[in-house]
């Protein structure tokens, strides 16, 4: 498992205030992890902070699960 994936899971756990053990690579933020759909932008901001990147808003709208978040972030690193 990549370091990026581990860091993404840590950020998701902190932002959604859930246990990191609940999160796997395919976890969907809303359906599987109980996020409100309006929280997606806060997850994006938390990823930006963790990885010190800027994610464009349009692209970030497509980030709905751990896997797409990892792929999206790795393109920016």
């Amino acid at each position: 498992m990549s370091d990026t994936a581990e860091r993404v899971k840590k950020v998701v756990a902190e932002t959604l205030k859930i246990d990191a053990s609940m999160i796997n690579d395919g976890s969907k933020f809303v359906e599987d992890l109980g996020a409100e759909s309006i929280q997606s932008v806060e997850l994006v901001a938390a990823f930006e902070e963790e990885f010190d990147i800027e994610m464009d808003e349009q692209g970030a709208l497509g980030v709905k699960d751990v896997g797409t978040a990892v792929a999206f972030i790795e393109k920016h690193l």
Binding site: T15, I38, V41, E42, E57, L61
Partner: protein
């Protein structure tokens, strides 16, 4: 403008302010000029000053007397960051990244009372404006769903000229659950009280009138009505009603044994889903030659509104007037 001119007069009397997060869009700059010149509100443009000034200069629009704030360098950034971090239980660093986004900075201005309302959407999706509103200003007490309404003005209705109705939800919630439909009804009733110029009388519409048919679609409406009655006891909200029983007194009197104040006299119409609401407003607009003003967002603790991406400067001015009138 017609019916909307009354809101311009109401807005002028309020001395409110509007934050416009898409401050580098020429339509927004033109609207801000008009809003300022006509005394509708104190407009605040968000964005880098040099970019706003360049767009304004190219279009020949004066920015005299119009405030400009760049969220990224604002001296309020840390205040709003602390407020956002506290409300949302986020780290200050993540909260700061949120508040640097213009929609969220604008939302925090409204939340903190530094602006009366926010009008945005020429460069953002409706879902993004709703997200910003929900996470900054939050929902009105007892409401957990953002929704939308149109103010429909019918040129001639049952002998009345320029008869206004609220139609909801015609733009946001595709298939609302009973609790969501209840939220839509309560928020629309509140919008109606502020905008119709007469007491709101709200009907939850269906293809059934008080049990005249049975189907799970009707159950959804009656469940929503039961929630409304719990949360909004004493309000003139009734259902389930067919559209004719809701708005025509003679039909309502025939179909309903104990009509009450809403039956036959409803002026806020709640549709069971987006199919019905969207179809109804467009049919009314074109078949009755009605003025369709909106859509406006509702359900937030303070008024925040969305604009179509194709909105004109005049649309921005009209939307601002109505948002200020709702404060």
């Amino acid at each position: 403008m017609g019916f909307t001119s009354r809101f311009i007069d109401q807005a002028k009397a309020r001395s409110g302010s509007v934050v416009l997060p898409e401050g580098t869009d020429v339509r927004i700059i033109q609207a801000a000029r008009q809003i300022k010149d006509e005394g509708i509100a104190d407009p605040i443009l968000l964005g880098p000053a040099e970019e706003i000034q360049a767009v304004a200069a190219q279009d020949g629009v004066s920015l005299d007397g119009i405030r400009m704030i760049d969220p990224k360098t604002s001296d309020k950034l840390e205040d709003y960051t602390q407020g956002y971090a506290q409300n949302r239980e986020l780290s200050p660093n993540v909260a700061r990244r949120m508040v640097k986004r213009s929609l969220f900075y604008g939302g925090m201005m409204v939340a903190s009372g530094d602006a009366s309302t926010m009008v945005a959407g020429v460069a953002h999706a409706t879902a993004t404006v709703i997200q910003a509103g929900a996470l900054t200003v939050g929902y009105a007490p007892g409401i957990q769903t953002a929704s939308s309404f149109f103010l429909m003005v019918i040129p001639e209705f049952q002998g009345q000229r320029d008869k206004p109705f609220i139609y909801a939800d015609c733009a946001v919630n595709i298939a609302p659950t009973p609790p969501e439909l209840a939220d839509i009804a309560l928020a629309s009733h509140a919008s109606g009280e502020k905008l119709l110029g007469e007491p709101a009388r709200t009907a939850l519409l269906s293809f059934s009138t008080r049990g005249s048919a049975s189907h799970e679609h009707i159950d959804k409406v009656t469940e929503a009505l039961a929630i409304v009655k719990q949360r909004g006891a004493g309000l003139d909200i009734d259902g389930e009603l067919q559209a004719d029983a809701a708005i025509i007194p003679a039909v309502g009197a025939k179909k309903v044994m104990q009509p009450g104040p809403v039956v036959g006299n409803a002026n806020v119409l709640i549709f069971p889903d987006l199919d019905a609401g969207n179809i109804a407003y467009k049919l009314t607009q074109y078949m009755a030659n009605a003025q369709a003003i909106g859509p406006f967002l509702q359900g937030f603790a303070k008024p925040i509104s969305d604009l179509s991406r194709g909105a004109s400067a005049q649309d921005v001015v009209a939307t601002t007037s109505i948002c200020i009138a709702m404060t």
